[in-house]
Symmetry: C2
């Protein structure tokens, strides 16, 4: 068996790093294909072609397209988890929420390259849907807590946290519907304005 | 030929009114089916069953499911047009934008009953997609103008109007992803909080 096909835990660090890099490249090629053609119309051949390899090369990493979609979801939810941990450095709910919005927008524009991942949950197998929905629920609860904390601290108006979180996540998820990396809107400007708009609307009025 | 099958213009006012009512009932049954089963999984039989009639009864009104989807889009865009005309009674951009958000949320929760219409444009025939996209673009331009006017009048911060409109419409369109008419969130409360949140974020910060 060639080293590159050995299970990750038995392979050398060099081989593991190479595999991780290749895996990331596959996910990015897939995300671009999903954005441009839609998930359902995308084939493994489309993804392989973008990487200049044959379809069989992908089978060393993923058994099928749905496994690739699931991996994309896992990567993006892991990023959202990292963002939540990153909020600890901020003292106020206002700063924490602005940070989360800026960073979540960055995940949409950079990590996901504008791919409509949040729209493709129904394409996953039921038990994988459950995993993703549970992780997404945890994220939503963390955001609601942030808003509840902000209200308690007198930073935010007395809004219904659930509705406020739906407004924020709707604005962010909708990015996949219109954002194009090659377009005129700058990713950083987008994150900044979304944070000011969506946090500002809670702090005064 | 039975009177109820005569072209609208030749039928009596009474028959025309009855046809219009029936047509609206079909659209509402279709919207509920689209929300509960998804557009692609919904059949004409599903829609007919909700009305307690056979599928052939629908053919007097619509040739196929796609024609029903198109009619739903047209109705909802006509409502958005009426909303825009309704803004004339307000003097400030702040009031006009708050009115549009409240009313657009009402279209999502009441007219569309939480049905994800904005997500189903790709299911339409190309020339019908063009019609809907052109109408949607006109609506987006009107909203951008409202924001530009608000900035000029010193009511809003100097934001990029395009990004602000995408944030607002994202929050509103996302309602179809989570709203359930039988849920705990009240439609009127939703519109009110969205208006305060999304307009408030432009007026200060």
């Amino acid at each position: 068996m060639a080293p590159s096909r050995m299970p990750g835990s038995l392979a050398s660090p060099h081989v593991r790093a190479k595999r991780t890099r290749r895996r990331t490249e596959i996910l990015h090629a897939a995300l671009r294909a999903f954005r441009e053609r839609g998930y359902h119309a995308t084939t493994l051949d489309d993804i392989a072609e973008r990487l200049g390899v044959g379809k069989t090369a992908l089978y060393h990493y993923f058994p099928d397209k749905e496994a690739i979609l699931f991996a994309c979801h896992q990567e993006s939810l892991a990023e959202l988890d990292r963002i939540l941990r990153g909020t600890r450095r901020y003292a106020s709910a206002t700063e924490r929420l602005a940070y989360v919005i800026r960073e979540h927008v960055r995940v949409m524009t950079d990590t996901l390259e504008g791919s409509p991942l949040a729209f493709e949950v129904p394409a996953l197998a039921p038990e994988r849907q459950d995993t993703i929905i549970a992780a997404r629920d945890r994220y939503e609860r963390a955001l609601r807590r942030m808003i509840t904390d902000g209200i308690a601290a007198g930073e935010f108006r007395k809004v219904e946290p659930k509705i406020a979180v739906f407004a924020i996540l709707g604005a962010i998820n909708w990015i996949a519907r219109w954002y194009r990396p090659e377009g005129t809107i700058h990713a950083a400007e987008l994150g900044e304005q979304f944070a000011e708009h969506l946090v500002g609307g809670l702090t005064c009025g």
